[in-house]
Symmetry: C2
Subunit: 171 residues, 2 copies
C-alpha cells in the first residue's frame, strides 16, 4: 500500500449535547495525531451529521390548547430547526478550530431529518463511511429510557466500526 | 502539547472469534497509519486481553453422567483453558506480525478469568485504558441471545471510548 493515496470518511453525529462535542474533540485529537502521515498519503473526509426533528404532521395545538394555523406551526418549527442546526454547527466549528487539523482533512456538514437512529444509519451507509463516531447519551436521559439509546441501535445496525465516546462527567 | 511525549493505552479484547481478530487488525491498521507521528512523540501500549472461563466449582459430572474426580475435571479444564489462551495469542501474534507496527508500540498480553463483560470492564479501569476495541459478537449468537451482548455491556459501563468493530461477513 506504500505510495497509495487512501481516502477515509469519518461520520461524527453531532447534536445539542456536550457529549457529542466531546466525541468530536476525541475524533479530532486522533486525526491531528495522524498529521505527518496524513500529509503524505491519506486524505480524510470528516462529515458532521446533524439530525433535526421531522416536520410536525398532526397536532396544531400547543400544550395550553390554543390553536395555531398549521402554517404558523410549521414555520415556527422550521425556524427552530434551522436555528438549532446553526447553533450546533457553530459549536462544532469552534471545536475543530481548536485543533490543528491539516489541509488533508476536508470537513463537510450534512443535515438529515427524522428519527436520529434511522437517519444516522442511512447516512453512514449512503456516504460509505469508514467509521462512525458518536456520544453515548446524545438524546437525553428520558428520551434514552423511552426510545432506547441511539448509539446502541447504531452500533448494532451500521456495518462500519462505531466509536462510542462518553463525556467524562457522564459515567 | 507540542514536544510532549504522550502515552496511549489501547485494550483489544481477543477471543476465539474471527471478529475479534478483525477488530485487532482494524486497530493495528489505525496504529500503523500513525507511524510517522508516533515515532516523534507518542508511545502506544497495546494490551491484548483474553478472558478464559472461570474454573468449574460445582459439577463433577460430564454430559453422559459419568463422574470424574474433581481434580481430573479441574486439570482438564485448566489444560483446555491454557491451550485456548495459547491458540488465541498465537493468532493475534500472526495478525500483528502482518502490520508494520513501529517500535514505539509496545504489545502486552493480559489473561483474565470470569464473566467476560465484568473482566473486560475491570481490566479497562485498572489498566487506565484510553480506548477499548472489541468485536461486536465475540461470544457467539446463542450466548449473545442468552446473556446479552458483551460489547453492548462494555460500551455502557466503561468510561473510555469504545470501538465496536464488526466482521465484514457478520452484518
Amino acid at each position: 500500500m506504500e505510495g497509495d493515496i487512501s481516502m477515509k470518511k469519518i461520520v461524527v453525529a453531532v447534536d445539542e449535547s456536550e457529549e457529542s462535542m466531546h466525541a468530536l474533540s476525541w475524533c479530532l485529537g486522533n486525526l491531528s495525531s495522524q498529521k505527518a502521515t496524513a500529509a503524505a498519503n491519506t486524505s480524510t473526509s470528516l462529515v458532521l451529521l446533524y439530525v433535526k426533528p421531522p416536520p410536525p404532521l398532526h397536532s396544531s395545538y400547543d400544550a395550553a390548547g390554543y390553536m395555531f394555523s398549521k402554517n404558523d406551526v410549521v414555520a415556527a418549527m422550521e425556524k427552530y430547526g434551522n436555528d438549532m442546526i446553526n447553533s450546533v454547527m457553530q459549536r462544532a466549528e469552534a471545536v475543530y478550530k481548536n485543533f490543528n487539523v491539516n489541509a488533508n482533512v476536508n470537513i463537510e456538514r450534512v443535515v438529515g431529518s427524522g428519527d436520529p437512529k434511522d437517519v444516522i444509519c442511512n447516512a453512514v451507509e449512503k456516504l460509505r463511511a469508514d467509521t462512525l463516531v458518536m456520544g453515548s447519551h446524545g438524546y437525553g436521559f428520558f428520551k434514552r429510557a423511552l426510545l432506547g439509546s441511539v448509539s446502541d441501535y447504531c452500533a448494532k445496525h451500521v456495518e462500519c466500526p462505531v466509536v462510542i465516546v462518553k463525556h467524562p462527567d457522564h459515567k
